[in-house]
């Protein structure tokens, strides 16, 4: 019951937040010079003024900004994200098509980074100043400092061109029309390199945060107490230190999860992964405002949801916290 009330309250609070984001985005975007019609005409080489007027009329760009805003707001209230004239397609379906690949890539990378990162951090902290610590610190420093696109390209050269183990790019093998487990295997093979390229950076961050956090907790009185009770070292670590040490990592992960929906433009570009990041980038470049606003809206909603989830995870980890 308390949970339901908490959730209801938070979702109620989210409404003005999302609405504010929508309004702010709309006007911010209209500050950018140039419009969709001129970009489209520019790509066509040349166009007559009549043609461009035709485009502007079709896109609704010839109406006053206030009217455009009214129409937009009304559509949003119906949860209608509008129509992308550039792509000749409804915004909703454009985004939904990309959500699955983006989610798959980001969640895989994120889960791997979180799991391996915290584990490495824990191992490094428990063996402080040992060779394990040194190796893990070095690896995470290198991973942290390596640009994702460079790593991606190097992996393509080694694993796709030289060794031929993995496909260079894409979501699945085009034209292969795989079904069932074949398709899962195929997508998995395509997923490996982008997920690694993306995960490595986050992995480094979590490893370092975890290491620092564990070291801090180990010095606490309650750890001494637990040891004094005669608990095994493993029990001390898992039962006491780990749960407390995870809190800063969860906070960090919560902040970074906001990037999930936006995807990583760089990794998506390098691996030709059909994600939301490149969709947003192209929409911005071509002043496809309906599409861009739609993406902003979806990611704002997702951030709200993720923040909520992070708060719930806190409660699970630390019983002292209350809803």
């Amino acid at each position: 019951m308390r949970l339901a009330r908490f959730l209801g309250y938070r979702l109620l609070l989210a409404i003005p937040v999302v609405l504010g984001i929508v309004v702010l985005n709309f006007f911010l975007i209209h500050l950018a010079p140039g419009d969709a019609a001129s970009v489209l005409a520019g790509e066509s080489g040349a166009a007559s003024p009549e043609y461009m007027e035709q485009l502007r009329h079709k896109f609704g760009l010839d109406r006053p900004l206030a009217t455009q805003f009214g129409v937009y707001l009304l559509n949003m209230l119906h949860l209608d994200l509008g129509y992308s004239f550039r792509n000749d397609s409804p915004v909703g379906s454009l985004i939904v098509d990309r959500l699955w690949p983006t989610g798959l890539l980001m969640l895989t990378a994120f889960a791997a980074a979180l799991l391996i990162g915290t584990l490495l951090g824990l191992v490094a902290a428990t063996g402080r100043n040992s060779w394990r610590d040194a190796v893990i610190s070095l690896v995470s420093l290198v991973a942290y400092a390596t640009p994702g696109f460079w790593l991606g390209l190097m992996m393509i050269v080694v694993f796709a061109i030289r060794l031929g183990w993995l496909p260079t790019s894409g979501y699945d093998t085009v034209g292969a029309d795989n079904e069932g487990w074949d398709e899962v295997w195929d997508v998995g093979r395509h997923l490996v390199m982008p997920a690694v390229a993306l995960a490595l950076f986050y992995l480094a961050v979590y490893a370092r945060v975890m290491r620092a956090s564990v070291l801090e907790q180990i010095g606490m009185d309650y750890v001494t107490t637990a040891r004094a009770k005669g608990q095994t070292e493993a029990r001390v670590m898992v039962g006491h230190v780990l749960r407390n040490a995870l809190l800063p990592v969860v906070t960090m992960a919560g902040v970074q999860a906001g990037n999930l929906i936006g995807g990583s433009i760089v990794v998506e570009t390098v691996f030709g992964w059909p994600g939301v990041g490149t969709l947003a980038f192209n929409a911005l470049q071509s002043r496809d405002l309906n599409l861009l606003l739609g993406i902003f809206f979806v990611s704002a909603c997702l951030v709200v949801v993720i923040n909520l989830a992070v708060d719930l995870v806190y409660v699970c980890l630390d019983p002292r916290m209350e809803l």
């Binding site: 950018a32 010079p33 140039g34 419009d35 001129s38 970009v39 489209l40 005409a41 520019g42 790509e43 066509s44 080489g45 040349a46 166009a47 007559s48 003024p49 009549e50 043609y51 461009m52 035709q54 079709k58 550039r86 792509n87 000749d88 397609s89 454009l94 098509d97 990309r98 690949p101 696109f149 390209l153 393509i156 050269v157 796709a160 061109i161 031929g164 496909p167 260079t168 790019s169 894409g170 979501y171 085009v174 034209g175 998506e268 570009t269 390098v270 691996f271 030709g272 059909p274 994600g275 490149t278 969709l279 470049q285 071509s286 002043r287």
Partner: protein, 555 residues
């Protein structure tokens, strides 16, 4: 050390302009052929017999925003759209029209009517038969109204008559000889009337699910990934096409596009989808080869535009001095990696085949060009100041790719050499287009200009006084206005006699080169990279922008 030197030597060789048959090539081929046995070697010696089946993966870059080829003429649409939409004609290597959806045609002596006899037994992918009504509807209701090139190419078209289902007659207000160059599926595609009739053309669902008569049918479009085209089993040309399927893949990153070719995942990358910088490496790959063929009817130039309202740039001497100051060979070598040729004037050399190009114009690439440039600038009343600078200009960097930044950096250097200080300004596409073509707030601009199939397209939009049109992209933004050029371009468009026409355009090129309203830098050459297993992919001057109906995959 010796090895390093030898490698450097090979690199240099392979980046040469013309592709020659060399010993390394031979040995590589021999080594590859050996394990395959004698049969393979023997079949290689004969004229190869096309094999049916297989999927060809081509790289198209960037991903088109729409496949509404009839209303948007962006260059990345035709490689896909021309597999589906056909035109009345195709073109042979001499750029003469050849029968396609039109079996034959006749141009009236006065040049004002063109009568097309249409191919019988052709059906659209939705099963509807192709008739003259489709030709009429395509030209009058769609192309003339919505195609961006129509205001020039179809300006003279008054009506299309349909005396019978297999005859279509184009009626023109004045002779328009250039129409005969624009009848391919790339420029003036034929659409199915019943798909469009009674609908809003610009919102028609076939914008992204094209329905045509071509050898391949549209199957699906996974946004951000690929377009799939499947063999048209009822194609009207017997036995064609050979391929079962074409997949057009979209890979945003240039290095990954190259990698997909090297890994053999993709078989064809036309229209310079592979960066010029990577071509030398592609050439050394045993499974790949390159060709510059198939772009004979795709002339384009990179140019430096000068704002004719700028107090210095409105002087002819200053414009000429800038033309002298730039070494086009440096741009060719360092920006275009040797592909293309230094431009001599307002028309690309690709118009040589049509007999319309001339290099008998004022020459700017002369040994003492820098002295001439400095003298002209002195005479124009722009002497060097105490710091050696005469005046300062802004250059708007073309936002369509990294190579244009490289070009801009060279231009800055070159102009500094004659005392003109240039500041580069990089903005995103929408901002750049707005600044240059709507606000006219620029000094120097380095666009890339397609010249269409006939000079009437490229020259008219750049140099006619009537084409100074605020807010319209890639038209006359240099404010060039010369009544003599206006007159000659008007006559040139209507002149049916080939020789008289050539003389008119020769004169136009001479006057323009002398006036130098813009600096013509490079006659651009696109390059196709292909997998050696893919055969007969480039069968005419439209190359990538015509159907791969004869292409086939060797096993």
């Amino acid at each position: 050390m010796a090895r390093v030197l030898r490698n450097a030597g090979t690199l240099q060789e392979s980046s040469g302009l013309s592709r020659t048959f060399d010993a390394t090539d031979l040995s590589r081929r021999t080594i590859l052929a050996l394990p395959l046995g004698l049969a393979a070697a023997a079949s290689g010696a004969r004229a190869a017999e096309p094999k049916r089946g297989g999927t060809m993966v081509m790289i198209v870059h960037p991903e088109p925003s729409t496949l509404a080829h009839y209303a948007v003429s962006a260059g990345n649409i035709p490689p896909i759209a021309t597999q589906v939409y056909e035109g009345l004609c195709t073109y042979d290597w001499d750029q003469n029209p050849q029968p396609n959806l039109a079996k034959s045609w006749e141009v009236a002596p006065d040049g004002k009517t063109i009568t097309f006899k249409l191919q019988e037994g052709v059906t659209f992918h939705n099963g509807k038969p192709f008739t003259s009504a489709d030709v009429q509807y395509s030209f009058m209701e769609i192309l003339k109204k919505y195609n961006p090139i129509a205001p020039v190419m179809l300006a003279e078209l008054v009506a299309v008559d349909t005396p019978d289902p297999m005859t279509a007659v184009l009626r023109l207000a004045n002779p328009a000889p250039y129409i005969m160059k624009a009848l391919s599926g790339r420029d003036l595609p034929i659409l199915c009337r019943s798909v469009f009739e009674g609908t809003d053309v610009l919102q028609n669902p076939s914008a992204n699910k094209p329905i045509g008569t071509g050898p391949f049918k549209f199957a699906s479009w996974e946004r951000g990934q690929f377009v799939r085209l499947d063999r048209n089993e009822t194609y009207w040309k017997p036995g064609l096409p050979y391929l079962n399927r074409i997949v057009a893949r979209f890979i945003p990153d240039a290095a990954t596009r190259s990698a997909a070719m090297e890994a053999g995942e993709a078989h064809f990358a036309g229209y310079s989808a592979v960066n010029y910088a990577d071509l030398a490496r592609m050439k050394t790959n045993p499974i790949l080869d390159l060709t510059t063929k198939g772009y004979e009817m795709t002339p384009a130039q990179s140019v430096l535009e000068l704002n004719g309202r700028h107090p210095h740039l409105q002087k002819k001497e200053v414009r000429q001095a800038i033309a002298y100051a730039i070494d086009r060979k440096v741009i060719l070598k360092d920006v275009m990696f040797g592909y293309g040729q230094p431009a001599t004037g307002p028309l690309s050399r690709k118009f040589k085949t049509a007999g319309l190009y001339t290099d008998d114009v004022r020459q700017y690439d002369v040994p003492d060009r820098l002295d001439i440039a400095n003298r002209l600038l002195d005479e124009a009343g722009a002497p060097r100041g105490a710091d050696g600078t005469r005046f300062a200009l802004h250059l708007e960097v073309n936002s369509f790719g990294e190579q244009w930044l490289r070009q801009a950096e060279y231009l800055k250097q070159a102009l500094a050499g004659v005392g003109i200080a240039v500041t580069l300004r990089s903005e995103d596409t929408a901002t750049w287009l707005r600044r240059v073509y709507t606000n006219y707030d620029y000094d120097l601009n380095e666009p890339f200009l397609s010249q269409g199939v006939d000079p009437v397209y490229g020259l008219n939009k750049q140099f006619l006084t009537s084409q100074i049109r605020k807010g319209v992209t890639f038209v006359n933004d240099t404010f060039y206005s010369n009544p003599e050029v206006d007159r000659m371009l008007g006559e040139g468009a209507r002149e049916p006699d080939a020789e008289k026409r050539a003389a008119l355009y020769k004169k136009v090129q001479q006057v323009l080169a002398e006036d130098s309203p813009m600096i013509w830098l490079i006659d651009v050459q696109y390059v196709s990279v292909f997998n050696r297993r893919l055969k007969d992919h480039t069968t005419g001057p439209l190359g990538t922008q015509q159907a791969f109906e004869r292409a086939w995959m060797d096993k």
